[in-house]
């Protein structure tokens, strides 16, 4: 919070490893930097370790059964060494989190207004009147219609989209600098999802928030994020600006994800390009590249040696032995699509 460390990135993760129960390597060496005011989307399929990475930043993974290695710095402070008291101050005050299911994250027995004022008063010495005024402002900010009345509503009395807005308001109550969002729009209907995505983008720009946005939906990531990090089997396989990753991918997994989207099919009745097989067992990781068994470009060394992080352009890296071949294959796809369109 002090100006002295203002130059530090909002979140810096180095060599993060998270092991559950001594065997399941959910996260296996993640490096990720979130610059201030930036939005990074962590995308991946279930079991890719994206949510675990996010939770590690707040140290929310169950401590007893989890072994964590590596370094996590939030605004220059090492999260791993924080006392539980300092951790409480960090949570909510500097780093806030929103979840997929607000009904589980909000307390059902208090009104949402009460929950927000409580949160404010827990971190700041402020009167209840002032806190309520702040809550009202927050509700207006997240565009909840008739905010005065809605402050006195219980979570179950609100519709899905309103609840998600209320949870965002709660997360913003203590003016955090970092917002962690765990699949915040997955459970919502399409017409509501786009509203929430736009709201998040707008809040991020106006409040200068630094956001990490976990999702499995590439489209949602493109809508909100400046940068996209693609995770597979506990590792970041490709990271770059949203443009680089979506329009100029260099990792076969990213390309596979883009190909398997139903909107990418050339014509009705044609088959979708799929990634064969399923993700590896995280408790018995094969050597080499975790994606190799499913990869259309895999060669012998991919099954033996883990690929390096290849910097394919400034600010764009891919963990693959064959980034060039992958990129060429993607360009070929593009050319064919254009040909078909003509």
């Amino acid at each position: 919070m002090s100006r002295a460390i203002a130059k530090e990135p909002a979140v810096a993760i180095r060599g993060l490893k998270v092991v559950f129960g001594g065997v399941v390597e959910a996260v296996d060496g993640v490096d990720l930097t979130l610059e201030r005011g930036q939005a990074v989307a962590l995308i991946g399929e279930s079991g890719s370790g994206k949510s675990v990475t996010l939770r590690a930043i707040m140290r929310l993974n169950p401590e007893r059964r989890t072994r964590i290695e590596g370094e996590i710095r939030v605004a220059g402070r090492d999260v791993m060494t924080l006392s539980s008291r300092a951790l409480r101050a960090l949570r909510g005050r500097e780093v806030a989190m929103i979840f997929q299911e607000p009904l589980l994250a909000l307390d059902p027995v208090y009104t949402v207004g009460r929950q927000i004022t409580e949160a404010i008063r827990q971190h700041e010495k402020i009167g209840s009147e002032a806190a309520r005024r702040r809550a009202l402002q927050l509700f207006e900010r997240v565009r909840i219609p008739s905010p005065e009345r809605r402050l006195d509503a219980y979570p179950h009395e609100m519709s899905g989209g309103m609840r998600q807005r209320a949870m965002i308001a709660l997360a913003l109550a203590c003016r955090p600098q970092v917002l962690l969002a765990d699949e915040p729009t997955t459970a919502l209907d399409a017409t509501v999802q786009i509203q929430i995505l736009l709201l998040l983008r707008e809040l991020q720009a106006e409040l200068g928030l630094s956001t990490i946005f976990v999702t499995h939906d590439l489209g949602a990531a493109v809508e909100v994020a400046d940068r996209i990090a693609v995770m597979y089997a506990g590792r970041i396989v490709e990271e770059g600006s949203a443009r680089d990753v979506v329009l100029n991918p260099h990792h076969p997994y990213t390309i596979g994800l883009l190909r398997s989207r139903a909107d990418g099919a050339l014509a009705k009745g044609s088959r979708l390009e799929t990634i064969p097989g399923s993700p590896p067992d995280l408790s018995a990781r094969p050597p080499g590249c975790p994606f190799a068994p499913r990869c259309f470009l895999a060669e012998d060394r991919c099954h033996v040696d883990a690929p390096p992080d290849v910097v394919v352009a400034t600010g764009h890296r891919a963990a693959c032995w064959r980034t060039e071949a992958a990129h060429a294959a993607f360009q070929g796809d593009r050319a064919r699509l254009l040909e078909a369109a003509v």
């Binding site: 050339l266 014509a267 044609s270 088959r271 390009e273 799929t274 064969p276 097989g277 399923s278 993700p279 590896p280 067992d281 018995a284 094969p286 068994p293 499913r294 259309f296 470009l297 294959a329 070929g332 796809d333 064919r336």
Partner: protein, 310 residues
């Protein structure tokens, strides 16, 4: 789509390749032992539940073999050797108010105590599950009629209900089993009903209905296996209650008649000796306590063993 690129073979691969999802750790999979196999496996590794099971088995074995292995005749008293203390040279666990060997009587008493403790629960398990599963699966007015009738029984505390029923039916082993069964049927039925209602709304039951199966087939194949487990766990936890209630009935003179040895009855007849030889007077109570807590611990273990799944 026949437009070719290195990956154009991927679609072909998918059908066949989908056939054998590649990195699925091909040989890591151990053939499953089935649900009950897993429960047994987990139970065997639970030290508390296994200890409890051993205690129960030992006591059952002793009770069953009692007529042949009792050190002395459990019915022969001796007026001059009354209320010997525990550790007496002839009477290992002392003697009762009529000078009969406590150890022998406890061994033989276990038969009746276990019998009138366990039988009502078994009967109530069968009857209560039947009622509860029927009410839960059929639903509607049948559910309303059955469950509201059962609610009437809940208006009375179970102890009072057991005493009232036994009192009305008259003393005796058979009658106390009947009255205890009546006490437990509503409790088990209620659990069975709620479990069944839950299972009935699962998609796989709907899928079975869509296959055109009859209600009876669905109940037998799809529902029963999934509801009997939880009901069984609940029923085992009732055995301890049942044993205590049964002893209570005997204690009040509504169950077993003297001179037949039964733990509850022994507790009653020995109560006058509580100031003379408290340890001996407490022995039947101790036996009841050990058996009922063993059943409770075992049912706890069973419950957590059945929570396997994913």
């Amino acid at each position: 789509m026949a437009t070719l690129a290195p990956h154009a073979t991927a679609p072909l691969l998918d059908v066949a390749g989908g056939a054998a999802p590649l990195p699925d750790a091909p040989d890591a999979f151990v053939p499953s032992r089935g649900f009950w196999g897993q429960v047994g496996h987990k139970l065997l590794r639970d030290p508390v539940a296994m200890t409890a099971a051993c205690v129960i088995l030992a006591i059952v074995a002793v009770a069953l073999l009692a007529p042949w292995i009792t050190p002395m005749d459990p019915y022969r008293g001796s007026m001059i050797r009354r209320l010997k203390p525990v550790g007496d040279a002839t009477y290992l666990l002392g003697s009762d108010e009529l000078g009969r060997d406590m150890l022998s009587r406890l061994m033989l008493g276990g038969r009746l105590s276990l019998f009138i403790g366990v039988t009502p629960v078994i009967l109530a398990f069968v009857i209560g599950s039947g009622i509860g599963i029927l009410a839960g699966y059929v639903g509607g007015w049948l559910n309303t009629v059955l469950m509201r009738t059962i609610d009437v029984f809940f208006a009375f505390p179970s102890v009072l209900l057991a005493i009232a029923l036994s009192g009305a039916l008259g003393a005796g082993v058979f009658n106390s089993i009947v009255s205890l069964t009546c006490v437990f049927v509503p409790q088990i039925a209620r659990v069975a009903e709620s479990v069944t209602t839950q299972i009935r709304s699962r998609d796989y039951v709907d899928a079975a209905r869509l296959s055109g199966a009859s209600t009876f087939t669905i109940l037998r194949v799809q529902v029963l296996g999934n509801v009997l487990g939880p009901i069984f766990v609940y029923a085992t936890s009732l055995i301890s209650v049942s044993m205590i209630l049964a002893s209570g009935l005997s204690f009040l003179g509504l169950g077993v008649k003297p001179p037949e040895p039964e733990w509850g009855l022994m507790l009653n007849t020995l109560r006058t000796a509580i100031y003379v030889n408290p340890l001996v007077a407490a022995l039947p109570g101790l036996a009841i306590f050990i058996v009922s807590i063993s059943f409770n611990l075992f049912s706890d273990g069973l419950r957590s063993a059945m929570e396997v799944k994913a």
